[in-house]
Symmetry: C2
Subunit: 148 residues, 2 copies
Amino acid sequence: MSDDDPFRLQDFLPYLLNHTAEDVGQGFARIYKDRYGMLRTEWRVLAHLGQFGPMDATRIGSMARVHKTKISRAVAALTAKRFVTRDTDQGDRRRAVLCLTRAGQAAYADLAAIARDHDRALAARLTPQEHATLLRCLKKLGQDLPQG
Amino acid sequence: MSDDDPFRLQDFLPYLLNHTAEDVGQGFARIYKDRYGMLRTEWRVLAHLGQFGPMDATRIGSMARVHKTKISRAVAALTAKRFVTRDTDQGDRRRAVLCLTRAGQAAYADLAAIARDHDRALAARLTPQEHATLLRCLKKLGQDLPQG
DNA sequence: GGGTAATGGTTGTATTTGTAACCAACAACG
DNA sequence: CGTTGTTGGTTACAAATACAACCATTACCC
């Protein structure tokens, strides 16, 4: 491979990805922050419980690839807001199954609807083919990373 | 638009983008962290100076869309490492033109080469068409954001 | 010129995050 | 059973970040 092929920062994927992610994330972040005082990890935990039903913190962490301390604090904040309850598993008393309260479900429904619209607006800036390719690429790049 | 069209977290662009960006960024972050004790913003400032030549902090901030306090602290760290010098513009003594030292250029050359390889490895996981589309989409999505 | 605003950049403080250490409950094995 | 190792989860403390307030200098404008 030609060693003199120059490095172009504008096309460097980690840079571009992070850049775009921050820009795109900002818009929706303001919504869940303003409406419910949530942080990103809190929204993610809420979203996972809303999408996939009750589960424990470890599972959320592995699905969202988020460290357990972040999950722990997000869950603490969400229970303080009465959006989530924890139910200690009687079979294994270390585990706690997390579950949305009625208020949590309402917040999730509200935010999910906005997220969907937000996502459509983003997708509308691309052709359907581009959008499909983008999703495919992001998923490809996100999995099986070396020493992830 | 069908309101019952469900929200799918796995395909939600802000989520996917952030997810992928974090995963992909990690690998290269470890390199500049281990080799030079740099933080991400430090690497970015170094990269901008290396790519585009001397400029002031404000310009870097607007190019990289990074807040000026972050730039300021990154520059402080880089000058402490003797990678960057600041030269107060005598025409406007508020401005300081930042410039890579010889050591800074060396670090940039080192990291840019690694970054290029790293990027090639990432690109190799996609078809050329996918890669091109991905870059195009990321750039489209990153610009002209509503109330950015 | 003298007052006000705008700009380049830094510093202070409150949040947020990362890393490691930690506790309690369970598992595995002698 | 004890002892050792794991696992689910929390807490403590250091590092990093965001946000606002702050200097110093320059621009505007009467």
